[in-house]
């Protein structure tokens, strides 16, 4: 079936450490993947994306890794800050108009 899931529902990280949030997807035909950050009371906000013809993409303090062999996606956040505390979602696209979201991981940054 179609599903995008996360291994860890809650991740607690010390401020300044690196965070790694994982995501497993099931549709091997998906060709575009996105990470979103959702803060309390807000809508999901785009962080970084990656196409299936890439295995790594870097942004400011964030890196997305894609392993198509095992259908795994990860988001790495360097030097995690209190403002990074949020729920993080991975999403994959099925065609141009359908986005399938994972179940979300709550990131807690400890001072």
């Amino acid at each position: 079936g179609e599903s995008v899931g996360l291994h860890l529902p809650t991740l607690s990280v010390q401020e300044g450490d690196n965070s790694i949030i994982n995501c497993a997807y099931s549709n091997s035909a998906s060709d575009y993947f996105i990470w979103y950050k959702q803060e309390s009371g807000k809508g999901p906000q785009f962080i970084i994306d990656i196409r299936s013809n890439m295995d790594k993409r870097q942004g400011q303090r964030v890196t997305v890794l894609l392993n198509k062999t095992v259908k795994h996606l990860s988001l790495q956040i360097a030097a995690t800050q209190p403002g990074d505390s949020a729920v993080y979602f991975c999403a994959e696209t099925e065609g141009t108009y359908k986005y399938i979201f994972g179940t979300g991981t709550r990131l807690k940054v400890l001072a």
Binding site: P44, D49, R51, T96, I100, T103
Partner: protein, 113 residues
């Protein structure tokens, strides 16, 4: 300067009532969406519209009727509200002509009494 705006932000109503949620985007996107987020934060697509045409209807009960008067607006009307409709509803938009990330509104929290 809000890119995707939804109204109202909160909606509290009785079971059986009919209500509407409005969404507008000023990004010039041609594709708009409605999502439902349940209490466990699971986000599920309900509808997507491209150039005012319905593209995706994810087996949503026909009590839910989206309407897109133009490319910048996608409203959601819900008839005969049920307890299970309690959730946060998010509107989003994207440039549908090519794959790209969606921009989300801040959600409408619907509570059914």
């Amino acid at each position: 300067d809000t890119a995707v705006s939804q109204t109202p932000k909160y909606l509290v109503t009785q079971m059986g009532n009919d209500k509407s949620i409005k969404c507008e985007q000023n990004l010039g996107h041609d594709t708009m969406y409605w999502y439902k987020q349940d209490s466990k934060k699971f986000l599920k697509i309900m509808f997507s519209y491209n150039n005012k045409e319905l593209i995706i209807n994810e087996t949503v009960p026909n009590r839910f009727s989206p309407k897109s008067p133009d490319k910048a607006h996608l409203n959601l009307h819900i008839n005969s509200l049920e307890l299970g409709d309690s959730a946060v509803y998010f509107c989003a938009s994207s440039r549908g002509s090519s794959i790209g990330a969606q921009h989300f509104g801040d959600g409408t929290r619907l509570s059914i009494l």
